[in-house]
């Protein structure tokens, strides 16, 4: 039983990381109906900025987190401005191919800088608490706590601010939003900023949990987060979080109770089965248009 709770805690940690990344996918999809396939690589850049901050600049945890979030925020905004905005009204497939291209660029750019895997030194003093046999490490506590904090902040921005209102309006009907006087480009840039910033934070969480990083970590983690967003219903913010915790739980529990090589098989099977029965994901609703 203690083993189960220990694994549940690991699931919460992995799910939190997936959730931060999945939010970036789902928010961008919400405003642009486009999958930003470079988002996993944004996350990877976040992990590398964490490495730079911790190992080269010798910064402590909070400055490293801010460096990763800030750097990836800029990266996301710049990518939208340079690569995606000119294609806003082009066929969807052009934007998707561009996103894949941006991803490959980021992987190879990072690889080109220094082609060896990097070790990220621990950012927090390593200690653990014991709750009735379940041990909670300082890393886990930081990951889960900060993730939940960031998600709450995002929730407030999206639901309680004027900019958040504009984001939700854009996700409902982008073409007429300019008629409200809303500067759509700015709101889309802000959406990229928020989504990318969360991806950068996830990079730090990853580097704390798996301290050896390479330029390709964003691929599989990005896919998993993307699947989380699809499971929850892409475009829906609560859905992305729900999907991420479901996926994190499935992965951890598979590895804990079944041969761990089944992990990805079960993860992707879950996606396929879910899409058969709920093609729009758990919280995604069919689009209804009244004429």
């Amino acid at each position: 039983m203690i083993y189960f709770f220990q694994q549940a805690l690991n699931a919460l940690q992995l799910g939190s990381m997936y959730a931060l990344i999945a939010l970036g996918y789902t928010m961008v999809y919400g405003v642009l109906s486009m999958i930003n396939f470079a988002h996993g690589d944004f996350f990877m850049v976040g992990a590398f900025l964490c490495f730079v901050g911790a190992s080269r600049l010798h910064l402590s945890f909070v400055p490293v987190l801010l460096l990763s979030m800030g750097g990836v925020t800029l990266l996301g905004v710049a990518t939208e401005r340079i690569a995606y905005r000119p294609l806003r009204n082009a066929p969807k497939v052009s934007a998707i191919i561009t996103a894949l291209g941006v991803g490959i660029f980021l992987e190879n750019f990072t690889l080109g800088l220094n082609p060896y895997p990097k070790y990220v030194p621990p950012l927090l003093p390593s200690f653990s608490f014991n709750f009735g046999g379940v041990s909670v490490s300082s890393f886990q506590l930081a990951t889960i706590g900060i993730s939940i904090g960031l998600m709450l902040a995002l929730h407030l921005i999206v639901n309680k601010t004027k900019a958040g209102l504009a984001m939700r309006a854009i996700s409902a009907d982008r073409t007429i939003v300019p008629l409200m006087g809303v500067p759509v480009d700015k709101i889309i840039a802000l959406t990229f900023a928020l989504g990318s910033g969360l991806g950068g934070a996830a990079g730090v969480m990853y580097a704390m949990a798996y301290p050896v990083i390479d330029p390709y970590i964003g691929i599989i983690v990005g896919w998993k987060a993307f699947i989380s967003a699809v499971i929850g219903g892409i475009g829906d913010i609560r859905g992305a979080v729900l999907g991420a915790y479901i996926l994190g739980t499935v992965e951890i529990m598979t590895a804990a109770f079944l041969p761990s090589t089944y992990r990805d098989l079960i993860t992707f099977s879950l996606l396929l089965v879910l899409l058969i029965f709920r093609p729009r994901g758990l919280l995604g609703r069919a689009e209804i248009q009244k004429v």
Binding site: K162, L165, A166, R168, A169, S171, A172, D173, T175, I176, V177, P178, L179, M180, G181, V182, P183, V184, I288, K290, V291
Partner: protein, 233 residues
């Protein structure tokens, strides 16, 4: 007196298709001007060009200033509001949020909201309901209310009667008539020509992207061509 809206040589193209071919007209402050015409005559395209939703050639002048370089979202701040065809309310937002986003360019949202809710008491009862759950008539009220939130000087309305019961059509038109009496300037595209001509000061008749006829609403109402084509006689 310079007209509040002056459109000259307006053209709109969709790829190879010319939807609007060199259309010129004007709307003076306090007037209700109606654009009549069959489906595909280019009426909606004209409204979209005026509000900046689609690119166009020729000139659109609002209060004497050329709007060519002014993007749609800034035209709202200058006083142009557009109620699009098919209402297009935000179904995932609440009624209140729909109204608030309509007032994006305003600073004193509270009094604007108050004013619109006095005009449409039905919306007041449904403030927290999501826009998508409203009936067609309520959605039209919401679409008009949303546009009024920006306190426009010129209100563009695209088919405000579309899909509504005769009773609701009458209600909407009596609202528009009230707006007119209160001094608002309206440019209306409407299929219901009989209704539109009773409301309008002047009208333009469009055919295949060009203005075929224009004049005072009462004259057009008696014009045999208009009677045959749009009033069903």
């Amino acid at each position: 007196m310079t007209p509040i809206l002056e459109v000259s040589g307006l053209t709109v193209n969709y790829g190879m298709i010319a939807a609007v071919r060199s259309v010129s007209f004007e709307v003076r402050a306090g007037e209700v001007v109606v654009l009549l015409g069959a489906n595909g005559a280019g009426k909606s395209s004209i409204l979209k060009a005026v509000s900046g939703l689609i690119p166009s050639g020729g000139a659109v002048r609002f209060e004497g200033e050329d709007l060519a370089a002014v993007p749609a979202q800034e035209r709202v701040a200058r006083g142009v509001a557009h109620v699009p065809e098919g209402r297009r309310i935000f179904g995932n937002l609440s009624v209140k949020e729909n109204l608030l986003i309509g007032g994006w360019v305003r600073t004193d949202l509270k009094s604007d909201l108050e004013r619109v809710l006095t005009l449409f008491p039905r919306l007041k009862e449904r403030l927290s309901q999501s826009g998508g759950t409203l009936s067609g008539g309520e959605q039209q009220m919401l679409a008009v209310g949303r546009a009024l939130m920006s306190r426009p000087k010129l209100l563009l309305l695209d088919e405000p009667s579309m899909g509504l019961s005769p009773k609701l059509v009458e209600y909407i038109f009596s609202m528009l008539s009230d707006f007119h009496k209160s001094g608002m300037t309206l440019l209306v595209v409407e299929q219901n020509a009989a209704m539109a001509l009773t409301l309008a000061s002047r009208a333009y008749v469009l055919e295949a992207g060009e203005i075929k006829l224009s004049g005072a609403a009462s004259e057009l109402h008696d014009n045999p061509l208009v009677r045959r084509a749009y009033l069903g006689e």
